[in-house]
Symmetry: C2
Subunit: 335 residues, 2 copies
DNA sequence: CTGTTAGCGCCTTCAG
DNA sequence: CTGAAGGCGCTAACAG
């Protein structure tokens, strides 16, 4: 790997001049610029970004931290983040926190010297942790999926409870009253908000909440499958299932299918996310779209803006949207 | 962000001493070490990794480059890579090449100063490009999924053709002769090797290759769906479909289901990957497992080893394994 | 227009 | 056991 000095020698100029042509700063005579360029090309020279960063205190990279590399919206999120970053000519450095809050916290602090801004999509850190981070960090941080009443940091959030309300209303409108619910982890704001959505919708419809219809899942297909099986084993009475994401809804669908129960004729199912796979199952899954791509775009673009200029903290809010497909139908009246 | 100088002042020692306690090198009196530590803690000091890297020419990070963030095995690969890296106390920096060979090439070169080793999972770069890279790079590179006859670089590969042979034999054993094939991109070694597997299996069974039974896909569900629809529209005669990955197989399954064709009673389907979603479809998809997790582990661990010591290039080979589920059954004789 | 001179934050001989 | 000094590769005033 050749350095700037090699270029200097070959082109017969000083470091300053080479630096000028690298960065397009200052005035350089065209002939010497050409000289420098050809020297660079001949050597296959590439400026060392670490050295550049150290000298300028600018890394031109944004850090993306997720709690886990198999999180729910992981793929779409990364893809969009990469696209947005490249568009702005920024490097993207991606890290996961192994689902461990302490580790994740440390990772973010470590990143401080390596990025100009951070985008965080955490499901392990508490709101308090995030606030602490925000104060401690000298670089801006944009938080996805956290929605604090006071706007203490930049955030891009999704109205979780409202999304569940949408789902419930769709079911209620179709005459369902016995609605089972497969939740996600209940140790973070997302799970809690969604559960509130479920309970409040029930309350609004004057339907008593039944603990036996509530099952815990972990956002993956298998846990949706298992949750549904336990619902079945307990012979609970339900005409519909709402799951806190599409994967679990799909897992439940599988369990129902195995048990010889028809969806949606006998039981309706609705999920949330609009996962790309959802429309390839039979029946095609009805769901509420979570605009993760748009949210990611917003977050990364905001982070990139914040690399160069500061802005007052603001919360960008997104909402769900019902996508009607084939897994929900009006409840059949019992004979 | 405090620097080493701040610690020096607070602890009343020189940079050298602080550096020693940071790195645990050299001898430091216990009392002064404690002093330094408490100064660091008080300041919330964290060594600047960029500066460390510049000074030592060691980054303690390995770079992972994939062609695209929605590549096939993307999630599992990242998750395992992150786990392996953390285990070895290395940072992982992940980048994608936006499916553009030139961009990807450039990205890798750029990474040279930022990592101690690179793991590459490319589907856009040619073997020649990779060789060129290997020669140009001063850091080691481990290539996943390329298998050159001569071992010109470190690689972890999968016997693509053999995997397809497994799939075909399973179908042939079940009496299928009219076997449609949904391929992936044909501009890279993987696609070519797999197609060879298909054609050679046909030849071994003395079944003529029919161009009309061959459809191109792009490894996603939608393209599998479309390929199957076009097969159907052309009224091709087939009793089985082999797809070059599970996603496309699942897309084809959907197309068949929509057309009122029973799987596997009327048409058998087999995929490759053993994608986690495959066993949640109905029928559960028969497939050949591609051990991407094991391969990734091998590749990253190798890369980490190469950070500190050089080794002669070697190719680690992996094979597929048939996973029989429910989407294949013996062909029915025509009435 | 170009070169000289200091750093960026850290590590690492080499003396003491 | 500790400090002073130089350097990693690059940028950024400041002269000229």
């Amino acid at each position: 790997m050749s350095t700037i000095l090699d270029v200097c020698k070959l082109a017969g100029v000083s470091k300053a001049t080479v630096s000028r042509v690298i960065n397009g700063t200052g005035q350089v005579k065209e002939s010497t610029r050409d000289n420098v360029f050809s020297a660079m090309k001949e050597l296959g020279y590439r400026p060392n970004r670490l050295a550049q960063a150290l000298a300028t205190n600018k890394t031109h990279t944004v850090g993306l931290v997720v709690s886990d590399f198999d999180g729910i919206h992981f793929g779409l999120l990364l893809k969009q983040a990469a696209a947005s970053a490249e568009l702005a000519n920024k490097q993207l450095i991606v890290t996961d926190g192994h689902n461990d809050p302490a580790y994740e916290y440390e990772v973010i602090l470590q990143l401080e010297a390596q990025c100009d801004a951070i985008v965080l999509y955490s499901r392990t850190l508490t709101d308090d942790h995030i606030q602490l981070l925000h104060k401690q960090l000298t670089i801006p941080i944009v938080v996805i999926n956290r929605d604090l009443p006071e706007q203490l940091f930049h955030s891009v959030s999704f109205q979780q409870e409202n999304a569940v309300t949408l789902m419930m209303n769709h079911l209620l409108t179709n005459g369902h009253k016995d609605i089972a619910c497969i939740t996600g982890h209940m140790n973070n704001p997302t799970g809690i908000a969604r559960l509130n959505g479920y309970k409040n919708a029930l309350k609004s419809a004057s339907i008593p909440f039944q603990k036996s219809l509530l099952k815990n899942g972990h956002y993956d297909m298998k846990s949706g499958y298992q949750a549904c099986q336990s619902l079945l084993k307990e012979k609970s009475n339900f005409t519909a299932i709402i799951a806190f994401n599409d994967c679990m809804a799909l897992g439940a669908l599988r369990a129902l299918t195995e048990a010889g129960i028809n969806v949606p004729e006998q039981v309706s199912i609705i999920g949330i996310d609009d996962d790309p796979v959802s429309e390839f199952f039979t029946p095609r899954l009805t769901t509420v779209k979570l605009p993760i791509v748009e949210m990611t775009k917003q977050a990364v673009e905001l982070a990139i803006t914040l690399c160069d200029e500061s802005k007052p903290t603001h919360s960008y809010q997104y909402q769900g949207e019902l996508i009607q497909r084939e897994s929900v139908m009006p409840v059949k009246l019992k004979a």
